[in-house]
Amino acid sequence: MKFSNAKTALSAIAFSLVLAAPTSAKALDWPQIEAQAKGQTVYFNAWGGGEAINAYIAWAAKEVQARYGVTVQHVKITDAAEVVKRVQTEMAAGRTTDGSVDLMWVNGENFRNLKSNGLLYGPWAEALPSWGLVDLKKPVRSDFSVPTEGFEAPWGTAQLTFIANKAVTPVPPRSAAELLTFAKANPGRVSYPKPPDFHGTTFLKQLLLNLTPAPALLQQPVTPQAFASATPALWAYLDQLHPSLWRAGIAFPASAAAMHRMLADGELKMSLTFNPNEAANLIASRQLPSSAYSFGWTQGTIGNVHFVAIPANARAKAGAQVFANFLLSAPAQAHKADTRVWGDGSVLDVSKLPPDLQALMRNKAPGALTESVPTLAEPHASWVEALETEWLKRYGAR
């Protein structure tokens, strides 16, 4: 008995040596990864500000523990940029194998940052067994116009959605121009999260897509010329909008979640979210009145895909892949799409799934987005920093 244990240990060491050797870039086959993952602890660094999301991650962690013997610890973070910093600092300090992050929830600017600095492990995502069910018509291979190349696995879809209260706002504004009129008619009751908050920056991009004379430029990496020709309309609009905003545009709410609370109390008349089902969740958990509803803009709103990625110095790479594969599997994606659970859009091709799971995904709860809103593509990831810097320069101080 002892002997065979020692043998297993030896082969495990051999495996890890094979993995560690840079020459053996050829991926292991899936059963090997599953075997290696058994007993590993995966530190999953994911935004922890949503109860529904936290509960879903806890559920998924329990499932992979039961199915594959992988322990998942949800490290609740407030901003994925902090994790990028952590990985960067660890690698800079020479900690290239024993990192503290095994899997992280990421997209856009943070992914671009990680990928261009060689801080990601991969490619691995398209070798996952669950990859076969992924709907390739969705932008799952490009993250804010940056090709993913298998360095991150898609997890869910999102679309910018606005929330209002039927009792006080029966007819919501559905374009940048309507929003300006609405704000002027309701001074002090409209705002948006302060960029560089994720939702605040997305709102800026939404306005930009709606206002810019040159939308094609936004799909390319930003250049000073492109920025100068695409953005003046946005700043002119904000200069007009800000005096009518909450606190006259001098201060801004810290986050979308803070705006939900202000909407609930009537301090604001609008809030925004990236999850078309969030209003339904908030009504269910009594954080919004039952008269809250979701709506989009006539010309469409920004939609994107969010992903999970493995840092280059992750300790439990096999465990992280097993967990990512589970997150992408049909039962996990269907459970996630259920509005009673989280209501996050699936990245799978729904028609390939069994009928009972399809039904689960079509479930709609009161308050969720019911109208069909066209999806606008995210501007290239490099626009994020340029927009945030310019916004902070113009409005970041009184």
Partner: protein, 537 residues
């Protein structure tokens, strides 16, 4: 030093134990701050559009907050000591002291925000349908943050005062002066303040340094556009962009400079006052009428904030303008995440119990001139120290471990415990030790049998303070813990930025309950031990 010479072993042990906490910081500071020492970094910092206003908000909130805290504490002590009301006040302090900064900030937010209790109560009479456009929280100059800091720190200062005034010598002086015909107010001015004020120097400095670099409270109540300098520094230090990281390092040096300049000004102001103080004339002034009870608002704010937390924690849905929740439920408590509570409990226990013997060894055998070095973490902005700790842990590959977490807390828990204990320890009647030694006890035996048992009350209080300090740590828990360890404090701050207010109230109350339990335990142990000994109470 005489002790240290006679007991090289004790002195070495004291230095070694304390060195484990402090010495690794030196290379850490070099790694963390070194890159910030360049002209271009400073130019970028000074021209940053957010810098000037962030600095202003920091100055207003910390100076105004500390000043107000001093005024409130000093005013209350002067009015009330000695009287039964002072005794009652003293008894009420532990509850308020055990309310961590973040929890108090959350409670105060629930009170004074435009959708808070105050606005709801006003709106109830004026039939408001939506919240008023008050700028009562997150105001651009950090006044609401200053107010919160003032109340919170005034309790801390009152508690320090209670310790000083509880000493036999002070009580006797008051009695003697009163029997000579001086009024209480006159005695305070002529006899007590000149002695008590210098002993408040370190605690006031600690309160000021805390308000300069506070991040958790500032996130909840402070301005957002731009935030205070401490929050901005924290954002920069944790930014992936290396340029902003060095800018964060430079900004934390600015915080340090702000502290040094303010402290130097305050100290020279004090010296000038002492030198120009008029010699007492011997004239007896009649006692003034006892005025309006000041303690009511100073303590009342704390109770109201706690009340708001309690009501929110059992609320079902509760939207403006409702004065009370629509329905009350235990579900928020039943489904609360208990993991942060247990993490906080074992962490605070481990840290405070580790620190207690270290503090005793240091006080008994350690070199006394070095106390100032130990206080450094209290009067330095926490941010550069946390960054230095993190740099060390990264180099040792210990970050995100249990050991790292406990070690990172020691840096703040140790000095707070020392600060709490040092007064009583130095005031201990040396003749008792001399007698014990004369009766054949070694110094250790004398300590174990005479000194430490007699100091049980301050010892247990110091332990409870250490426990409470550990519970309230935010930045070290985030950095050294690698974000892997969620405590009630990190949880409450994370939730304060958004999410369910009910869940937030539960976590904030758990944050209160832990230190409260520690103080309750300390007090009941003291009472149990001293039930037959009047002088020990």
């Amino acid at each position: 030093m005489a002790h240290a010479e006679r007991h090289p072993l004790g002195a070495t042990l004291a230095l070694a134990l304390v060195g484990l906490v402090f010495v690794p910081l030196l290379p850490g500071l070099l790694w963390a701050m070194g890159p910030s020492l360049s002209a271009s970094v400073w130019q970028a910092l000074l021209t940053d559009p957010q810098f000037a206003q962030a600095l202003l908000a920091t100055l207003v909130s910390s100076l105004f907050g500390t000043l107000l805290a001093c005024l409130m504490a000093a005013g209350l002590a002067t009015r009330l000591y000695p009287s039964p009301a002072w005794q009652r006040l003293q008894q009420r302090l532990p509850l308020l002291l055990s309310v961590p900064h973040a929890a108090f900030a959350v409670g105060l937010f629930f009170l004074i925000a435009p959708s808070g209790w105050l606005a709801r109560a006003t709106g109830y009479f004026l039939s408001w349908a939506s919240p008023p456009e008050w700028v009562t929280v997150q105001d651009p100059y950090g006044l609401s943050l200053a107010l919160a800091l003032a109340f919170k720190e005034s309790w801390f200062l009152l508690w320090v005062l209670a310790g000083v005034l509880g000493e036999q010598a002070v009580a006797r002086q008051m009695a003697v002066a009163r029997s000579l015909g001086y009024s209480a107010a006159q005695t305070w001015r002529l006899v007590l303040w000149p002695q008590v004020a210098p002993r408040l120097g370190w605690p006031v400095a600690a309160a000021f340094a805390y308000s300069l670099s506070v991040v958790d409270m500032a996130l909840i109540l402070g301005p957002g556009n731009p935030p205070t300098l401490a929050v901005l520094t924290w954002h920069w230090l944790s930014d992936p962009d290396a340029r902003l990281q060095t800018q964060g390092g430079a900004a934390s040096m600015v915080l340090l400079a702000l502290f040094s300049v303010s402290a130097a000004l305050a100290y020279s102001g004090w010296r000038a006052w002492v030198q120009r103080r008029a010699y007492p004339t011997g004239q007896r002034l009649p006692a003034v009428q006892r005025p309006w009870p000041w303690q009511a608002p100073v303590l009342g704010v704390g109770y109201a904030a706690l009340g708001a937390l309690v009501v929110w924690s059992v609320a079902q849905s509760w939207f403006f303008p409702a004065l009370w929740p629509d329905a009350v439920t235990w579900d928020n408590w039943r489904y609360a995440d208990a993991a942060p509570f247990w993490t906080t409990l074992w962490l605070a226990l481990a840290v405070s119990l580790l620190c207690l013997p270290v503090v005793l060894i240091w006080l008994e055998w350690g070199p006394k001139q070095l106390n100032a070095v130990l206080y450094a973490p209290l009067i330095l902005p926490a941010l550069p120290l946390v960054a230095a700790q993190y740099a060390v842990l990264l180099h040792l590959r210990l970050d995100a471990s249990l050991l790292a977490l406990v070690w990172s807390h020691l840096l703040w828990v140790l000095p707070y415990m020392l600060l709490t204990l040092v007064g009583a320890y130095r005031a201990f009647d040396a003749r008792l030790m001399t007698s014990a030694r004369a009766l054949g006890c070694s110094q250790l035996q004398a300590c174990l049998r005479v000194k430490w048992p007699l100091l049980l009350r301050p010892l247990l209080l110091a332990w409870a303070v250490g426990f409470a300090v550990s519970v309230a740590q935010y930045l070290p828990t985030l950095f050294a813990g690698g974000g892997r360890f969620a405590t009630v404090t990190t949880e409450a701050v994370a939730l304060s930025a958004g999410g369910s207010r009910q869940v937030l109230a539960v976590q904030a109350l758990l944050q209160v309950l832990l230190p409260l339990a520690a103080f309750a335990l300390a007090f009941s142990l003291v009472r149990l031990r001293s039930r037959n000994r009047q002088g020990l109470r």
